[in-house]
């Protein structure tokens, strides 16, 4: 179970967060942005699972419970994001974030 060292596993989740943040900063397509957001959320969820595997008793179970709750939360957030994408697409016929720049004065 705990044959992999903690540092390697944390490196994986840090890489996921990095990929997610990079995507959020560089992507201009709203769907790809949603995917990037989802990847960075998953980094946090993975962290909870990793730490709970190294803990025993209540402390370990708490982390797994948090992970399950977070999966539900991430799904809710993406549902709202998709609703916004649909409304944007209906209104502008485009889901390119860079084209949405009317809020300037």
């Amino acid at each position: 179970m705990t044959s992999l060292p903690l540092a390697d596993l944390l490196g994986l989740s840090a890489a996921l967060l990095g990929i997610g943040l990079f995507g959020i900063l560089t992507r201009r397509n709203f769907i790809l942005l949603l995917i990037a957001v989802e990847i960075s959320m998953n980094a946090a969820i993975l962290n909870f699972v990793i730490f709970s595997a190294f803990l025993s008793g209540d402390a370990g179970v708490n982390g797994q419970a948090a992970a399950v709750v977070l999966v539900g939360l991430a799904a809710t957030e993406v549902a709202v994001g998709l609703a916004i994408v649909l409304a944007l697409n209906r209104q502008r016929g485009s889901i390119n974030v860079a084209e949405a720049s009317s809020l300037k004065l």
């Binding site: 944390l10 989740s13 967060l17 997610g20 943040l21 959020i24 709203f30 942005l33 957001v37 960075s40 959320m41 980094a43 946090a44 969820i45 962290n47 909870f48 990793i50 730490f51 803990l55 402390a59 708490n62 982390g63 948090a66 709750v69 977070l70 939360l73 809710t76 957030e77 709202v80 994001g81 609703a83 916004i84 409304a87 944007l88 209104q91 502008r92 974030v97 949405a100 720049s101 009317s102 809020l103 004065l105």
Partner: protein, 530 residues
């Protein structure tokens, strides 16, 4: 059988959720009347407010007290939630904002599309805010913030037809999701470092863990995530576009209410058990003299964040031509003042920051509600469009002037009281915190310029003979009966604005009971850390 006693403390939340479900149900069965939904929402907020004020120990309402008095301000036990006087004060502040916004929105057209969505989500968002104020666990806290965030993303874009509000919703969503991801990543690292997500486990901060690097990273990520929520300066840019593009009643709710959950989250995470307890759980005020002898780095970094936030918010507010954008930047600079309180971290400073949050309900949410009202009677979005308004709409203009004077911190307004308490707490704390007090005073002076400019435009400048008509909706609102009532705003909005204005003056002239209540709540918070 389920004991009713067990769920009694959650009466405010239950009332709000029940009202929200009723609004959605009525909308589904075809009752689509905006003023009915607004009445339900403001009624539910008022009832919940009654419960919360009773729980906070306000004697005349003792009969409807739902939380066991011994459970309020109890020593931290490490559960998911804990009731504290300060948290209850924040709950009252949040409910007051929701009440004002719902009351004002009663004046919107009866057949407005999406009205049920707006009022239902307003109640759901407020429920999330109430949960933030009782959180005692990091996962609980971030989930509660998220309940509010998800509801407010939808509120910003609920009209769906207005391209500006949809664009604001999109920006709000992206930034919100980013800040959520960062907060959760921080929480997960703290879980790894402290082996628990309870706030009590954070006692002693880096001294309480065997993995200080992990804990430091966790606190850092959480600082950035929460920094987005309170619009602290490197993470502020979204707020202006969102407050500008959102329907103005929603901006009032965001600026006056939902942004402030970040302030309380800062209290919980960076002031609570961390600041007041050492790793063994002993109370730190006795052991280490001053709280920030214990955590100088944290104090200085929060202080720098506060100075940046005030200064940059103020300087950018000076350059705005649009009323809503000016108010949005002023909202950012006001967040800087609240951060002063968090950086100083003593009981008077916390009381001052909470007072500032309280004052904001009346002056900032009130100002946005008033701007929304001015828009319904055909006043344009630019500051110059308010030219000569003092002569045409004297009562509303005086109310707006009072709100701006309160934001600037002029004596005899509630905004002065909160700033006075806040800055004098920073002066008392000595050392580095003197810099914060001076920076706050200088910034207040700068802010007077842009508020006074609006006053000058409203009262000194003569209106142009023919006001430039705006493209789109008809300029004069005389054709709609609802708009004619109460000086053109509708009775709901006029009442909300009148109440806010009265509160600004009354609490400005006679603040003693208010200060006493906030001070004692802050002292309890300092003693129990929750």
């Amino acid at each position: 059988m389920v004991s009713l006693v067990g769920i009694a403390p959650w009466s405010p939340e239950i009332v709000l959720v029940a009202a929200a479900l009723l609004v959605f149900l009525l909308d589904t069965v075809g009752v689509k009347r905006s003023e009915l939904f607004a009445g339900l929402a403001s009624g539910a907020a008022a009832l919940a407010l009654l419960f919360v004020v009773a729980d906070a120990g306000f004697a005349p309402f003792a009969l409807v007290r739902t939380v066991d008095p011994s459970a309020v301000d109890a020593a931290p036990a490490g559960g998911l939630y804990a009731f504290s006087s300060l948290g209850l004060l924040f709950q009252a502040i949040f409910l007051l904002t929701a009440f004002f916004v719902a009351l004002a929105s009663a004046s919107r057209p009866s057949d407005e599309k999406g009205s049920a969505i707006f009022h239902g989500l307003l109640l759901i968002a407020t429920t999330g805010m109430l949960f933030v104020a009782v959180a005692a666990d990091l996962v609980f806290l971030v989930l509660a913030i998220e309940v509010t965030s998800i509801a407010t993303y939808l509120m910003v874009g609920y009209t769906r037809r207005d391209p500006r509000s949809l664009e604001a919703a999109m920006k709000f969503y992206i930034i919100g999701a980013l800040s959520t991801a960062l907060s959760f990543f921080g929480v997960s690292l703290l879980y790894g470092a402290f082996h628990s997500t309870s706030l009590v486990a954070l006692s002693g901060a880096l001294g309480g863990t065997t993995q200080p690097t992990l804990a430091l990273l966790g606190f850092g990520f959480l600082l950035v995530g929460l920094g987005f929520k309170v619009t602290a300066v490197p993470f502020h840019a979204w707020a202006v576009d969102v407050y500008d593009g959102a329907p103005t009643d929603v901006s009032a709710f965001l600026a006056g209410g939902s942004k402030k959950i970040g302030v309380f989250a800062f209290f919980l995470v960076f002031i609570g058990p961390i600041a007041f307890f050492d790793a063994r759980g002993a109370h730190c005020l006795t052991a280490c003299g001053s709280v920030y002898n214990f955590h100088p780095t944290l104090a200085v970094s929060l202080g720098v964040l506060a100075i940046l936030t005030m200064t940059i918010g103020n300087l950018l507010a000076l350059m705005q031509r649009s009323m809503k954008r000016m108010l949005a930047y002023s909202s950012i600079s006001q967040a800087g003042y609240m951060l002063i309180g968090i950086a100083v971290g003593t009981a008077p400073a916390l009381a001052g920051a909470t007072l500032q949050v309280f004052a904001h309900v009346f002056m900032k949410a009130g100002a946005f509600l008033l701007v929304a009202g001015f828009a319904t009677i055909g006043i344009g979005p630019l500051i110059d469009d308010y030219r000569g308004l003092g002569a045409r709409r004297p009562k509303a203009s005086v109310a707006f002037a009072l709100m701006l004077l309160s934001l600037a911190g002029i004596p005899l307004t509630v905004g002065f009281v909160s700033k006075f308490i806040l800055f004098s707490a920073a002066v008392q704390a000595q050392g580095f915190f003197l810099v914060l007090a001076i920076a706050g005073l200088l910034n207040s002076a700068v802010s007077v310029f842009y508020y006074a400019r609006v006053l000058k435009v409203m009262f000194m400048d003569r209106a142009e003979p023919v006001p430039a008509p705006l493209p789109g909706p008809p300029v004069a609102g005389g054709s709609e009966p609802a708009v004619l009532a109460a000086g053109g705003f509708g009775y709901g909005r006029a009442t909300a604005i009148a109440l806010a204005t009265i509160a600004i003056v009354v609490f400005g002239i006679y603040p003693q009971p208010l200060i006493a209540a906030f001070q004692s709540a802050a002292e309890h918070f300092v003693l129990t850390g929750a």
